[in-house]
Symmetry: C2
Subunit: 479 residues, 2 copies
């Protein structure tokens, strides 16, 4: 009862207050719960099942490219964290420190890993000696900790789940190829599985990872016009190898430093799914990532034969490889519909005595509410086709939304006006100086999201200083 009361309170409209709408959805779709541990959350079954599907899909794609999984310690001794100068400067202010083990103070503080470049390098320094030991293409699935001041479920929390790949290669070229290869894996995954279109590009020096030579990113646009950095892949050159003295004897019998990469994707992608696809009835899950793709909801289930037929429908769909559940609880059908909608289950099948008599069922799409009446004999086939169509159309709709909210500017006033009035990406030229980047942040409230791989020459001059332009940049307000 208490539970029913909670759900029927409508969630906040996304147009009225997007941030509150987001918070309502993560709670009412039962994805997370807050905890007694400030800034950390419980990922509940409905949320964790999405993460399991993300893991499964990404892990399969990784392994196809030769990635092997490993597990490294969650603690980093302070002296190890300090070995690479830029890296420690970037991370030291936001790590959690362990100072006591049991009843004793530790001789050296340990931080809880915020990322594991230093541990992987320490490991590779022991494990890599010859060109025969290369490449190492390792990944781990784990949790990391960054002591954020303000947090939001999935988007920014003190502890989050991710995968982090760390590789070393005999040559710079091979490492650079791996950096881009993994960025492409992320981009394909986002578009094909999450139905989220992304812009691939390179971060400016200001926005790159602490310790990287180059950071590549995929950037996506949320429904409210804010950007989300959705996956990054870093090229380190031999900077970390030198800092950690990783050396190998090459074929020509000389000692060389290998070239490194790292790349990661996190539980924040669950936040992206919510903010790209959700609506005022709750979550909308792309079929390929949905833990449950179809909910069978009986109508007038007390009538003889209805529940039996509904179970039969479920079994038929299950046998066809569809992830399906039957809601045979005592709640009213209307209540079950709104629960299925809140949880973002892609399709529901309504089945009542009249449908059964006619040998038919009604299928309702979560995204468009479109109804399809289908004979029971063709159900599995139609459900599969609808899931495919829905997946495809969700990506198309997200792309159309992204494109409709991507602007361009060649004059500073125009740029500021767009930044002020129209949430979205702004494409504009940039001279390459951090001063202009800082000024645009200060004056227009936007950051550089990336220098896209697909460059255009919108004008010949930097949007801020008017000096010769070097790059097209996507600018935006970001999560």
């Amino acid at each position: 009862m208490a539970k029913e009361k909670k759900l029927v309170e409508a969630i906040t409209s996304m147009d009225e207050d997007f941030a509150q709408w987001y918070t309502d959805v993560v709670k009412k779709a039962e994805l997370i719960d807050y905890t007694s541990v400030k800034g950390c959350m419980v990922i509940k079954p409905a949320g964790y099942a999405i993460w399991e599907n993300i893991q499964h899909e990404l892990d399969r794609r990784f392994k196809e490219t030769g990635v092997e999984n490993v597990y490294l310690p969650m603690f980093i001794p302070e002296s190890l964290l300090q070995k690479e100068k830029d890296h420690v400067e970037g991370f030291a202010p936001e790590v959690a420190w362990v100072t006591h083990g049991g009843l004793e103070p530790l001789q050296e503080r340990l931080c809880v890993r915020p990322t594991s470049e230093t541990l992987f390098c320490d490991f590779y320094a022991n494990d890599v000696h010859s060109y025969r030991d290369l490449p190492k293409v390792y990944n781990q699935w784990c949790s990391v900790v960054r002591w954020e001041k303000t947090t939001r479920p999935f988007l920014r929390s003190r502890e989050f789940l991710w995968q982090e790949g760390h590789t070393v290669h005999a040559t710079a070229e091979e490492a650079q190829e791996r950096t881009i290869q993994m960025l492409n894996v992320y981009a394909d995954f986002c578009e094909e599985v999450l139905a989220i279109p992304v812009i691939k590009g390179r971060k400016t020096d200001k926005e790159k990872f602490s310790g990287a030579v180059a950071t590549y990113t995929i950037e996506s646009l949320m429904h409210d016009g804010k950007a989300l950095q959705s996956g990054t892949s870093h090229y380190f050159g031999d900077l970390f190898s030198k800092a950690f003295e990783i050396q190998f004897t090459d074929k020509d019998n000389t000692l060389k430093y290998p070239h490194g990469t790292s790349w990661g994707m996190t539980t924040r992608m669950i936040g992206a799914i919510i903010m790209v696809h959700g609506d005022n009835s709750g979550l909308v899950l792309p079929p390929r990532i949905a833990p449950t793709q179809v909910m069978v909801i009986p109508v007038r289930q007390n009538v003889e034969g209805v529940l039996e037929k509904a179970a039969e429908v479920r079994d038929t769909l299950k046998a066809a490889g569809i992830r399906v559940k039957l809601d045979d609880t005592e709640k009213s059908p209307g209540w079950k519909f709104s629960e299925q909608e809140m949880r973002g289950i892609p399709l529901r099948i309504e089945l009542g005595p009249k449908d059964i008599e006619a040998g038919k069922a009604v299928i309702v799409r979560r995204d468009t509410r479109e109804k399809t009446i289908v004979t029971l004999g063709e159900l599995a086939e139609t459900v599969k086709a609808l899931l495919d169509t829905m997946q495809k159309e969700m990506l198309e709709r997200a792309r159309a939304h992204r494109d409709a909210h991507t602007y361009q500017a060649t004059e500073l006033d125009e740029f500021k006006k767009i930044a002020d009035e129209k949430p979205g990406f702004i494409k504009a030229m940039w001279c390459g100086c951090q001063e202009c980047e800082d000024a645009l942040k200060e004056e227009a409230g936007v950051t550089s999201r990336c220098m896209p791989f697909e460059q255009e020459q919108l004008s010949d001059t930097c949007i801020y200083c008017g000096k010769p332009a070097k790059h097209l940049v996507y600018w935006g307000k970001a999560y």
Copy 2:
């Protein structure tokens, strides 16, 4: 070169120094590496792939019983850890404490979870209100930290990987059933997948989990006659519910405390696989858990057609659903054989020009070295049959070894003599008093492993004090 040199140094004989043999195997089979973080290890690809298979098999079995996966924070505020008296006494001396977040000291210390009963209870206190919310049958896969003084790879390390299930139920009966159900899942998994026979039983009060009403265990016997606690399942009654004020309104409209359980299995099972099945050539992996089940090793691979045929054999086996690799490196066949043996790959297929001419191949079992010559047309079928046979015989052999090292005693002198001279389990009667348990530890160096579900009446009196016996107990020296 450096690598080849390392492997050909023979590993220590297990009969000469079992502990050193174990350390050699974990290193030379490339399962782990030591790290700069004292007491923590790197789990390398060959080790982690075993853990992935364990996860996959266990997770599937869990989900068949209705378990749902979640993720809870890795930190526990000190005040939360202290809510259940016995629990905090058991764990506080061995936890790692986080005292600083970023540059600031924390207002309250956080420990890194040694186990998550307190967090799950805190979560359930928020999430459980009505009988409709029950049962909650949640599990998480994560790492935990216990600040051990002496550590050994897989068996005892400061951080280890595990799953921990935590459930709450409306009635004591249902919780007790779940406790035993999960113990049975563990026992079946060990026997069917890891080929490790186990004794199911209950821990004495002295050996039970801190905060539990009852702890159930599966105990296995290693090759050296020492016992290993291989999985535990705890029944909490309503102790934790009361400490954390978890209450629900039952059907009769009264407020009640739910009854809880928890159960876990860890990466120490990789240690069990090594110590139950390994031999003086290295690791021996049961086929069902082996990441690679078959290694195809070409002989005289520079002869035209050999590598092509070997690849064809690999593809045929792969198509038949067998996990197979081809070793087409430049090493000698003899070297490849010893690598395959060190890594415990269940079968190798030797294939040279003469075999190909005769349309045959040689299959060698890792455990018995038994050779089978088979025509190429029957290869997949024969490999499958051999893997099944090997799996079955490994369990039988482990059971025979366990039974041959299980003794019984009805007199104290006899008991001490066995404990002193014959490593293994000792079955003996016990009165139920902790004093006798303590004395047997002191005088014979053994601990009670469990009171087995299959009770026998070896005599009417306690092996130590001679008072009336209450339970048959398995005693032993344990890891």
